[in-house]
């Protein structure tokens, strides 16, 4: 751990510190400071911030595959949503007999569909540990199966992006069906409590936020550990010149597969944290548009930086919250413009911009000490 921390640059340390401070400060301000005080954080803001944290984790996962391995996945929303469904199923079963139909075993929608017994896929979800495991296992297995096929047959670049998009689209269609067994188009909602605590209460919200922030910090450390290792160096090499790496004797598909699975698991965790905080999960989470939106968070923050991806998710979503409230008409213009402008003018994202500024100042003062690192070429 200390070895890892010592490897972090100043920015990484600052990010880690900021996340941890948030994890402590936000619950404090939300719970301990009396309402009406200028520093008090209203409960809905806590839930909102918690949501941003989950998005930041998702962006981190995406940056790991796109920024460091050149795999532009347009289906990461699917892993996120699968993790969310796993958690949603746990929360559904916690409702127990408090549902509208007061069935102790079956969730309301199953009673409504006139089902007599719990489907196999729902077994075990009364246990939090099992649900948590599934939230990681299911996205991981899907990513493994998908990546196994895709990477071995060298489906790359745009083709891979389109196929990942088709994957999430297919899942969306499947989850929309009532007989698929996961609540159809209404999804899962009306949750009551998690581990015995009321999901709606302020204290639970604050705790969930803290857990999300801590998870973000942990995932960040994990991602840093991966990209800093020898394995990570090979990943970057795959991104920049896949064929050359293959000719050097590396099994490129295995490198890609591992990072893809890890990324999917992280996305699943993000989804699992997301659902109790927003209180609903439905098939629209599988919408391809969501996955593409997640990609733009990474692009705005700066791909291949990890910190940038997380910040990008928070900045873009903050802007979304503001715009959809203040000028609902113009949010799509803003988002669309963001896509175009960032790809055209900010290929390295906001973080790249900041770094370029920082690099210019010392360069102006003294002669350039080292040649700037060559920009990674897109391999696709």
């Amino acid at each position: 751990m200390t070895a890892l921390l010592s490897r972090l640059d100043r920015l990484g340390l600052a990010f880690l510190a900021a996340t941890l401070i948030c994890a402590i400060l936000v619950p404090l301000l939300a719970l301990a400071v009396p309402r009406g005080s200028a520093f008090a954080i209203p409960p809905y803001v806590v839930a909102l911030l918690g949501k941003y944290m989950c998005y930041a984790i998702l962006a981190l996962a995406l940056d790991l595959v796109w920024g460091y391995c050149g795999i532009l996945s347009l289906g990461h929303g699917a892993f996120f949503a699968l993790g969310g469904y796993a958690m949603g199923m746990y929360l559904m079963r916690q409702i127990g007999a408090r549902g509208v139909y007061a069935n102790p075993l079956l969730p309301d929608f199953m009673v409504f569909l006139n089902w007599k017994e719990l489907p196999l896929a729902w077994w075990g979800f009364h246990s939090f540990a099992y649900a948590g495991l599934m939230a990681m296992l299911v996205p991981g297995l899907l990513a493994f199966a998908f990546g196994w096929f895709a990477f071995r047959s060298r489906v790359t670049g745009v083709y891979l992006s389109i196929i990942t998009q088709a994957l999430t689209y297919a899942l969306k269609l499947a989850f929309f069906r009532n007989d698929f067994g996961f609540g159809g188009n209404n999804g899962l909602t009306d949750f009551k409590d998690i581990l015995g605590f009321n999901v709606q209460s302020d204290a639970t919200r604050a705790a969930l936020f803290s857990i999300s922030a801590l998870t973000l910090a942990l995932c960040f450390l994990l991602a840093k550990a991966i990209v800093g290792s020898k394995y990570g160096k090979a990943l970057i090499a795959v991104r920049d010149a896949e064929s050359r790496v293959r000719f050097l004797g590396y099994r490129v598909e295995n490198y890609k597969l591992l990072v893809f699975v890890v990324s999917a698991v992280i996305a699943g965790v993000a989804g699992a944290l997301y659902v109790p905080q927003v209180g609903i999960i439905n098939p629209s989470e599988f919408d391809p548009a969501n996955s593409i939106e997640a990609v733009i968070w990474v692009a705005v923050g700066g791909r291949g930086t990890l910190v940038g991806a997380a910040l990008g998710a928070i900045v873009v979503n903050f802007a979304k919250t503001y715009f959809t409230g203040a000028f609902p008409e113009y949010w799509l213009f803003a988002l669309g413009g963001l896509f175009v402008l960032v790809t055209l003018f900010l290929p390295k994202g906001l973080l790249g911009l900041v770094r370029a500024r920082a690099a210019r100042k010392p360069a102006a003062a003294s002669a350039p000490a080292a040649a700037p690192a060559p920009a990674p070429a897109e391999s696709a």
Binding site: L72, F146, F149, A150, R152, S153, R154, V155, T156, G157, V158, Y159, S161, I162, I163, Q165, A166, L167, Y169, A170, L173, A174, F176, R177, E242, S243, P288, I292, V295, I296, A299, E329, Y330, L332, F333, L335, G336, G337, L338, F339, V340, V342, T343, L344, P347, E378, S379, A380
Partner: protein, 540 residues
């Protein structure tokens, strides 16, 4: 076309004889004195006699028979007790002599007695009126009436049916009449067995769902083994036939879906082939084409409304094509060599276009009407074919052929193919790749606009129109590869047919999921699609 009706010779002779007898009988009834007799039966005002009179009146085919029957059913047929004259009151209140149709002035309607009717009589009147329309001078009306008889299977309509059949000149009306007669005879336990067998054969020829349920009834009711066997054989034959038509119908749906897919995907395939760029805003180009149609229809005077789509086609092509060229010049050319970034940028453009259209035209669906020549449909045997879909298939073929020609024959097409195959080599040979990119993108987007005109006819014209097609068109391109347009056509055909043939078996959604999974598996085998360009490049 339905096969002509055929009978075994001896049955034919009997039928002819029977028809001739009935014809003679009717002819004699049609004489004036016979009509007098018939009308006199009404005067008795007894249910049994009235029913007889209704039947005779219907068979007589007298000109004023429908009016009299109508009046009877509405309690407007009256008896003048003084002169024992049958009169009827029209709906407007005029009193007319039933036989001559003369208008009677200054009569006291209240003193007249109504000819009584009961429910049984009302049914008889309905049947009689149906029989009378069988004799309508308009063949279409006759067919309609025959179909009504076919459905009601009223034995009372038989004489009228036979009478009309004997003098029927229109072949389609005759077929409909024969089928109606067969429907009655097949179920009539009192009819001679040979007639019933002939009727079953006729129903078997008809071979649709109505005939099926009818024969089902015959098979259930009859005890005669010969009849039962014939009925069962006919049922089996009809079932196979219906299943075949069903399959044909699904193939038709598949072709129709394939044509839409081809139209939506072919522009995408061009831009992807030439530039290696996936245009995520392609669906929005389609949407712009649909809105262009709406604008054209709103702006055109009503006298030109038949031509609105023909006028909209070039305009939609230009609108979408120009937007495509602007997009290429302002965004995509700067992202050359970064296909993934291009994908994101065009996605952003698609969001902007959607919201722009939503701001200008509103979020609601816009109404685009179909010109007369495109509405309606035709029945070919058991197939129902909508004209609109037929035109869309024609348009898809037209666009495909035109594009093939443009690529094969014109210098522009030659350069475009050169850039598709090897961009750097083409540039070295003096092809201005930048200009080719621009025109190729314009062309692809323009075709999307044309597609929008077609889709405005079968889908809701809303800002989200393009979204529904984009993933499917990607799948077509992925399946077909970018080597040549035949791949796109084959991909569209495969997907369209597979989709529609799977639909009745496992449902629409499951079918779609299965197809997506199959494509994901297919791409393992052929990562560059069916028609991949052959070359020695390491990374295509």
């Amino acid at each position: 076309m339905r096969a002509a009706y055929r009978e075994k010779p001896h049955v034919m002779n009997i039928a002819r004889l029977f028809a001739a007898l009935v014809f003679l009988c009717c002819a004699s009834l049609a004489r004036a004195d016979a009509l007098d007799d018939t009308l006199a039966k009404f005067l008795d005002n007894k249910f049994a006699r009235t029913e007889q009179a209704v039947g005779e009146l219907a068979a007589s085919g007298a000109a004023n028979a429908p009016a009299i029957l109508d009046a009877l059913g509405d309690n407007r047929l009256l008896i003048d007790p003084v002169g024992r004259v049958l009169v009827y009151q029209t709906a407007a209140g005029d009193v007319l002599n039933a036989k001559t149709g003369e208008k009677l002035a200054g009569v006291d309607v209240d003193s007249f007695k109504k000819v009584r009717v009961n429910n049984a009589l009302r049914n008889a009147i309905q049947a009689a009126l149906g029989a009378l329309t069988l004799a309508n001078p308009d063949p279409a009306k006759r067919i309609e009436a025959a179909e009504a008889v076919f459905k009601s299977r009223d034995v009372k309509a038989l004489p009228a049916l036979e009478a009309q059949l004997a003098k029927e000149s229109d072949s389609r009306a005759a077929a409909a009449l024969r089928q109606a007669r067969a429907a009655i005879l097949a179920l009539d336990a009192k009819a001679p067995k040979s007639d019933r067998l002939a009727a079953l054969a006729a129903l078997r020829e008809r071979g649709d769902q109505d005939a099926q349920s009818l024969i089902d009834e015959v098979a259930a009711k009859t005890d005669d083994p010969a009849l039962k066997n014939a009925a069962q054989a006919a049922l089996a034959a009809i079932k196979t036939r219906l299943a075949m038509w069903d399959a044909a119908q699904n193939v038709w749906y598949g072709l129709s879906a394939a044509s839409v897919l081809l139209l939506a995907a072919i522009g995408l395939a061009i831009t992807f082939g030439v530039m290696g760029v996936i245009n995520m805003a392609h669906g929005e180009m389609v949407m712009l084409g649909a809105y262009a149609t709406f604008v054209v229809q709103s702006a055109l005077p009503p006298s030109l409304s038949e031509w609105s789509l023909a006028i909209a086609l070039p305009i939609a092509f230009l609108v979408s094509g120009c937007v495509g060229v602007v997009l290429e010049r302002c965004v995509i050319q700067f992202l050359y060599g970064r296909p993934l970034e291009t994908l994101l940028a065009t996605w952003g453009v698609s969001l902007i276009l959607q919201q722009a259209v939503r701001t200008i035209f509103g979020a609601n669906n816009r109404q685009v009407y179909a010109p007369k020549f495109m509405s309606g449909g035709v029945e070919v045997g058991g197939l129902s074919i909508t004209t609109g879909r037929l035109w869309i298939i024609a348009l898809a073929i037209l666009v495909f052929v035109a594009l093939q020609l443009a690529l094969r024959v014109t210098p522009f097409g030659l350069r475009m193919r050169a850039v598709t195959q090897n961009r750097r080599m083409a540039a070295a040979m003096g092809v201005s790749t930048g200009r080719i990119d621009m025109f190729a993108f314009g062309l692809g987007s323009g075709i999307a606009g044309v597609t929008g005109v077609a889709l405005s006819q079968i889908d809701n014209v809303s800002p989200n129109l393009g979204q529904g097609y984009i993933i499917d068109s990607f799948m077509v391109v992925v399946l077909g590869g970018v080597g040549n347009l035949w791949g796109t056509a084959l991909g569209a055909l495969t997907l369209g047919l597979a989709n529609k043939l799977l639909e009745p078996v496992i449902g629409a959604v499951l079918g779609k999921i299965l197809l997506l999974v199959l494509i994901i598996l297919f791409i393992q085998k052929r990562p560059r699609g069916l028609f991949a360009l052959k070359g020695r490049a390491l990374e295509a």
